[in-house]
Amino acid sequence: MSASVYQLSKGEIKLKFNLVLPTSLLVLLGNSFGLGAAVAQSSQQTPPKTSPTDVEAAKQKLGSIMAASNMRMTTQAPSNFPVQAYKSNVTQTTFINSTKGSPVANLSICTKDSPETVFQWYQQALKAAGWTLRIPSAKLMAKLGSQGQLFMLDAEKEQQGIKLMCILDKATNGTTVTVGWLKNR
């Protein structure tokens, strides 16, 4: 090990679950989302004709796999999810939640809108819903070298916590939004 000790530098955000994201991580995150988006794009060429029955069977198979892991995945956020789902120019929505044990959920939305637009929308929506927001300073974001590419915040309300990230999808210039929700321990 090196002589240096990992330290939280001043202004560095300590996210809800004490996940501290150094610069390299955020860059890699951005890249991984870009990869996913590129894969999605390649499959947007006209697909061959398939039977709806077969598609439905495949979806049910995923459902049974998820149920075995005490999880559920859908393409829509449930109406009772504590955080509103972004609706403008959405190309893909996935919602995954635990069905047993610690209540957790992850809402992921791909949209053509810019990260900044999406982030502003969520800030207003969360504040209006009574969430207490913790947003890293512009100075910190500048330090991370991710201006315009990554926006993130923590939010708290009652016994719930939220970790929100809006990441630029470089392939489409759109945004991948991840809303992680957890009941506090």
């Binding site: 090990m1 090196s2 000790v5 990992y6 330290q7 300590k14 996210l15 679950f17 004490n18 996940l19 501290v20 994201l21 150094p22 390299s24 991580l25 890699l28 995150l29 890249n31 991984s32 990869l35 996913g36 894969v39 999605a40 390649s42 499959s43 697909p47 061959p48 004709k49 398939t50 039977s51 077969d54 069977a57 495949a58 979806k59 198979k61 995923l62 796999i65 075995a68 892991s69 005490n70 999880m71 995945m73 859908t74 393409t75 893909q92 996935t94 995954i96 635990s98 044990g101 610690s102 957790v104 959920a105 992850n106 992921s108 970790k163 990230m165 991840t178 992680g180 957890l182 321990r185």
Partner: protein, 563 residues
Amino acid sequence: MSTVEKRSKRGSVTAFAAALALTLMVLGIGFIIICLYMGGQRETKNATDAGALSVGKEVLSEPSVMLTPAANQRCFFDCTNDTINNNVMGDGRVNLNRINRVWSKAMVIAINAEDSNAGGGKGNADSAFQGAESISNSLADKLTDASNLHGFFTDLSKKNSTRMIGVGSATEVKPGAGWQTSLMDRDAESNIELTGTPSNNFYLPPGFSMPGSSTTKCTRNPIPGEVSNTTFLKGYAPLQIGNHDFWQVPFKWNDKPHLVSSTPFIANKVSTKATNWTKPVPNAFSVEGQAVKPGATGEIASSWVLSNPRHAYKIAAPHSFLKIHVDQLKCHWFFYVPLKVEGFSTQNYDYTPTSLTGSTHFPGGTGSTSLTPPAHMIGLDVVGRTLDEIIFGVPKGSTDKLEKYMVSRANQMISKPGVEITASKLHSTLNSPTTIAWLIAGERDFYVFSKDGETLECQPKALAIAMAPTWLPLIIGESADGNETKLIDDANMPSVVNPPMPTSPSPIPFFTPAPPYIPNVSWVLWDKDVYWKNGTGYNGSLGEVRVKRWSEVHSVGVCIPII
């Protein structure tokens, strides 16, 4: 009247006066002798009282018993000092002041061995009991041998004047039946306090309850405010744990050594009032002194004294530690072909997140020849997390029992009366931000211990040894003597940070991949197992916590027929 009669009448007053004077002188001398006698009695009693108090005070330190090198006595070395500071080395001697510490540590070991996963700890608890009993019996033998106490008596008795007996006389020991011992204040409190209250089970390990018959509040009347809420172990009352009876000597809280009257002393002698303790350690002593000068009347006096160290301790195993080991983090890749199978590559990761891609799997799923899982950012379950969050954080699992074990062990390390390690304090110790740095730096073993008997530390090995250099290096290599059991079994949850990623399985001929995301999707699960290995503290280890965390990347690749 005749001449003779007249002559005898004239001499009668003088003779009477002379007789009276003689009588007065005799009475005076007699009075002086009586005064000297009574004064001598008083002085002898005073000197004997002083000698008795000296015995009552000095007997707390000597006679003492030196621990043998045998393991079942060496384990009590941390009880051979008069301080709560764990870093102060003992001298290897057990005396009346320390005997309750020895018995209480033996109790701690036995209580920990009552766990269903005690394993080899049960044998160690038996050994510890035998060691404590052997030490106690040796001490009892020495305390009941009056010759060990004579010196303390004469140290003070001779310094007190008995000039009424005669110049140069002094009160010395009168050996014999006047030197006895007694077990007074039965069922009163000992000088060992329990931590906490009955409502939190005195922070004892889960599954063990302290019998009410073995504990008591302070029996002084009125109860001093400082100990109004304190529970003590009861003296001369057996505490049965397993197959053994553990004992304590009663010492009323903050009571000074003092003289007592003969009546209660005699009433509590073993010969008068039996006890189940085979060789009880006495707390009261009778003395007999005599002041003699050759040619003068000697005086004998007896006194009775109840001893008390006025030093409270806590039920504890001072030199002990708890080890926390964090297993190597691993990433497992799963595919559904159609049944769930694990991929061939399992990758290690650490506390700095990294993008990982699993190996291509053949086949990839229903209707698919192969599937290369998309890259995911792995390590987000542990990045920036403290040791407390690694153990108790999400995915949480049922952490109650683990927490109770760790809290009970933490309290066993604390020697200072009145200091409680609550669950909150334990979490606070494990939540130290420095643990984040240590984990990132590659440390996997942490040690929880108390360097000073009143505060808790959680440090990696090198730092722990530096903080407690006098004792921790000697025991830090010891393993817990019990069996390991899994307390949290595969607590898991979907990652709240990793978004699901679409997959692109390679189709077999005439098939095409099903829609991305539903069903062709890859997601990340966070998983955790936590193990507890019971430790009695006999060899210093109070237990081991092992945390195993891993990530699972599940990838579904379904291809459907083209129509």
